[in-house]
């Protein structure tokens, strides 16, 4: 076998990107539009990682995306849309999500539909919980200040160092006016930003005088970051909340697979290469510098730059070769951080229309309670979790399935390790048992009977995500965003925590945290950093 090994991939290239997930594709795009010729190696047979879809019978299911932030409409594009369209030349048919969410809390009987846009959002909460308007208005102003300052930092952080960022902030405060961008506000942004930086969401939110029931209505997006509000850093929460409520949320018309194929096609058009069924087994490192990669079929590709759309745990624990080149500091870094949730999704193709089913909203957050610690605790057991985030695709894209049918997908999270003891033999029955309970959870909350209309069902577990996306331990999120491991400390530590020359991480484990938009943005920045390293 060995003597017949030909250099199927060409032997050498400037940049190798491991994984065609959101982060890897974004990095490839950022590089390719600037003239570099990245080689993307993907172990699966299609691009996207989680940004994918699959067909069962007459249904095409979205695999993972609920809604993208930072897209925005044509006339007010968000950062992700500007990157993909204006910078990347990637054409995607974006569809707006009609409303923020419907939240149903089964213990208290709370049931509310919340629209996008700050004023309508606050109106809707005020209607359910009188007395919320004033504190919520103050709260949104606060979140907006934090979000604005974070946006400013993202600009100054092109070459981040604690010194540089502190200097920028000090200057910013001293001048009491925004020297960077007219749209940004005055120095109080930075004050608020600094003041809330070490705080958790609960620390800030629960001191604003917002009625507890209104807090329940405000909190559902917590599950998109997957860490309870008693621990989640306020900065990232504020940025996420403002982004969704201001820009709304969007999805590609042909599922997230449209986005990944569109980026992939654009990368190829620009001279990049994308190869499938090609798993990278080793990243060759010599004296702290990247030298190449070795694929599962044994081919070595020489390169001085690698962007890994993987977890640092996989990168330093098994990819870096020889193992002695994985610095102890990198391993300590990995071990100090908390892995986020692993995904569990029930995909249903139903042979009745949404109206017939009584499923008239796009996004549902169905939960026993909005006590995020309690819900988070329920993710520790191999059983029904207290919360599901459910989407009905037809309520954003009415013709996403044949007339008279409906696509629903229900997602929940498990903590890493919960599925570790599952034996192959009991796997199918277990996933069915949980799927069954989630269908009941949905039907009970809405008073519907979707159970009787199942034409197609598929269930994805942590093992499924590990299989198709090679995500570490089946995780769908990166590291948990505690204050000490939230975006700002990550930005401030980037230089110090860069352990191997020529190696960048992209995707949900990178600086910007997890989620589709964050992964795309961090992929772009990994591409830019790599380009700088190449002297481009």
């Amino acid at each position: 076998m060995a003597e017949g090994k030909k250099a199927k991939l060409g032997g050498a290239c400037d940049v190798v990107i491991i994984g065609a997930g959101n982060g890897g594709l974004a990095a490839a795009l950022a590089l390719a539009v600037r003239g570099a010729k990245p080689l993307v190696l993907e172990q699966h047979n299609a691009p996207g990682g989680f940004a994918t879809s699959f067909v069962r019978g007459r249904f095409e299911f979205e695999a993972a995306l609920h809604e993208l932030s930072s897209i925005g409409p044509e006339n007010n594009k968000g950062g992700v849309r500007r990157f993909l369209e204006d910078e990347g030349g990637v054409d995607i048919d974006w569809v707006p999500i009609p409303e923020a969410y419907r939240v149903i809390l089964t213990d208290s009987g709370m049931d509310a539909r919340l629209p996008f846009g700050e004023a309508p959002f606050i109106d809707a909460i005020e209607e359910k919980v009188p007395g919320s308007r004033e504190p919520l208005t103050r709260y949104f102003a606060l979140c907006r200040e934090v979000s604005g300052a974070l946006g400013l930092l993202a600009k100054t952080a092109a070459n981040p160092s604690p010194k540089r960022i502190m200097k920028d902030l000090k200057k910013f405060v001293a001048e009491s006016a925004d020297p960077f961008d007219d749209a940004r506000r005055n120095a109080s942004n930075v004050v608020t930003f600094l003041r809330t930086l070490p705080k958790t969401v609960d620390d800030v939110t629960l001191k604003m005088g917002i009625p507890p029931k209104a807090v329940d209505l405000l909190y559902p997006y917590w599950c998109y970051l997957g860490i309870p509000m008693s621990r989640m850093n306020f900065t990232i929460w504020a940025a996420m909340l403002i982004d969704y409520i201001d820009y709304g949320a969007w999805i590609p018309r042909l599922r997230s697979q449209e986005m990944s194929y569109a980026i992939e096609a654009r990368v190829r058009e620009l001279g990049g290469r994308v190869e499938y069924n090609t798993r990278v087994e080793r990243v060759l490192v010599e004296r702290g510098r990247v030298k190449g990669v070795v694929t599962a079929s044994g081919e070595t590709i020489k390169t001085s730059a690698v962007i890994a759309n993987t977890s640092p745990a996989q990168l330093y624990g098994s990819l870096v070769n020889p193992a002695s080149e994985a610095p102890a500091a990198a391993l300590r870094n990995v071990n100090s951080r908390k892995l986020g949730g692993a995904g569990f999704v029930v995909y249903l193709g139903l042979d009745a229309s949404p109206v017939e089913l009584g499923v008239n909203d796009y996004g549902y957050f169905i939960s026993k309670t909005m006590d995020t610690d309690a819900v988070y605790g329920s993710m520790e057991k191999l059983d029904l979790v207290d919360m599901q985030a459910t989407i009905c695709l037809n309520n954003a894209i009415p013709d996403c399935s044949p007339p008279g049918t409906t696509i629903i997908s229900m997602t929940t999270l498990y903590k890493p390790g919960v599925w570790d003891s599952v034996k192959p033999k009991e796997y199918a029955a277990l996933k069915n048992r949980i799927a069954d309970a989630m269908i009941t959870q949905f039907d009970d909350a809405l008073g519907t009977d979707i159970r009787s209309w199942v034409e197609e069902i598929e269930v994805a577990t942590p093992a499924t995500f590990a299989r198709y996306a090679r995500s570490f331990n089946g995780g769908i999120y990166g590291y948990e965003l505690d204050p000490w491991d939230s975006i700002i400390p990550r930005i401030l530590s980037e230089k110090e925590e860069s352990y191997i020359k020529g190696l960048e991480v992209a995707g949900g484990f990178a600086t910007m945290g997890h989620g589709f938009s964050s992964s795309l943005i961090s992929g772009r920045s990994a591409g830019l950093k790599t380009l700088a390293g190449l002297g481009g």
Binding site: A46, P198, S297, A466, P489
Partner: protein, 405 residues
């Protein structure tokens, strides 16, 4: 802006700077052991191995010129267990036949319990089914022959959250193989489901697994019933006769309402039954059919472009960093042309379903049989096609994926 916030520069800066020492402290105190394990990757690999190395331990003659090959883990290559499967699934067998790497799907005819604890899979191949691999298997496979297979695949399985509690299996010819697995499984596990099998054959001697099937039914008479329906009965035949029709199905399986119909058999049977079952006016979800194998005569499809029929084309193939030009025939799938030329992209279902062979059409046109076109919408938009279910109708230029191995 916010009157709540009074700026105290030093204190606020300090707050920011406090996060960094905390981060550093946590990292300093953490272990420096690499995380090499990944239980979910291990579970995924156990459930869906890229490859299973198997060896034949037994070859048994079955009726109708069929042979049952019993496959066990090939201990010599280090394999010790088989991936668990759901009754109704198939294996894609991968072989080098005179230098050509081919892959063909075969339903597993043994039950999931048979595969437990390093047990066995059985696949059943009829000689008369012809085909490249069948002929080879018939000629070459004996005890001790080593076989490479994919992990179990396919969706022709009973699903409690979707299907009715009463399943009617409609089998034709060697389409019985997945049903043998399902029925044996129901008999063994006591699953809370009723299964009525209607097995249509031309002549009595063509019934495969007759005594097995009768034994399973005897084992669980309240849940399993088996009926053989013969087209050309001999004098000794005392069962139902004729084709499987709406009438005979109603007679043998009872009122079709509230039952799920599973169909597996030759293509002619599908088309015939499709018309017959229309009379039952069943919702789509109550009819499930196994999609199997490549289309025998693509040119006869009503939507096939008539001027392409019988022609020969050239196919420019980019694979990795290599480019080759190979011949392709109008009546053969692009996958067959690739395999013939020694370029074997990964493939499993050969029915357009699984997407393993997904490739990019850079130039030219292919005919994709609409009924087996299971591509994603975005795949179509961006020129992705499945060579196993696509037929060149002009010269084409394609980019095909590398094989994993």
């Amino acid at each position: 802006m916010s009157e709540l916030i009074k700026f105290d520069g030093f204190k606020d800066m300090a707050a920011l700077l406090e996060l960094l020492p905390e981060r550093k402290k946590r990292m300093k105190e953490a272990s420096a052991e690499p995380q090499t394990g990944d239980a979910m990757a291990a579970l995924a690999r156990a459930l869906h191995p890229d490859i299973q190395r198997l060896v034949i331990t037994d070859v048994r003659e079955e009726a109708a010129g069929a042979r049952v090959f019993r496959l066990v883990p090939d201990k010599e290559s280090g394999a010790s267990s088989l991936a668990v499967f759901r009754a109704g699934q198939y294996l894609s067998l991968k072989l080098d036949i005179s230098g050509v790497r081919v892959a063909r799907p075969y339903s597993i005819s043994s039950s999931p319990a048979d595969a437990d604890d390093g047990g066995f899979y059985e696949i059943t191949i009829r000689k008369k089914d012809g085909g490249f691999l069948s002929e080879h298997a018939w000629k070459e496979w004996r005890e001790g022959t080593k076989i490479e297979a994919s992990g179990p695949a396919g969706f022709f399985c009973v699903e409690p959250l979707r299907d009715a509690r009463h399943i009617v299996g409609l089998a034709g010819g060697s389409g019985i193989t997945p049903f043998r697995s399902m029925i044996k499984d129901i008999a063994e596990t006591g699953a809370d489901v009723k299964f009525t099998l209607l097995y249509g054959v031309n002549r009595p001697e063509e019934i495969m697994f007759k005594s097995d099937l009768e034994a399973f039914a005897a084992q669980a008479p309240d849940r399993i019933s088996v009926h053989f329906v013969c087209c050309e009965p001999d004098a000794a035949w005392c069962g139902p006769t004729g084709f499987l029709t709406a009438d005979s199905i109603r007679k043998l399986a009872g009122d079709p309402a509230g039952k799920s119909f599973f169909i597996c058999g030759p293509q002619a049977m599908y088309s015939f039954l499709e018309t017959e079952l229309k009379q039952f006016d069943l919702p789509k979800k109550r009819m499930r059919r196994e999609v199997f194998g490549e289309t025998a005569d693509v040119a006869s499809h009503p939507e096939y472009p008539p001027d392409a029929a019988g022609k020969a084309f050239s196919m420019t193939v980019h694979c990795g960093s290599e480019t080759t030009v190979i011949p392709a025939k109008a009546n053969e799938s692009a996958l067959v042309a690739l395999e013939r030329a020694g370029i074997a992209p990964p493939s499993e279902c050969r029915s357009g379903e699984c997407g393993f062979c997904a490739s990019i059409l850079l130039k030219g046109k292919v005919f994709v049989i609409p009924e087996t076109d299971r591509r994603r919408l975005a795949a179509k938009k961006f020129g992705v096609f499945h060579p196993c279910s696509s037929y060149p109708v002009t010269d084409i230029e394609v980019k095909v994926p590398l094989d994993k191995s």
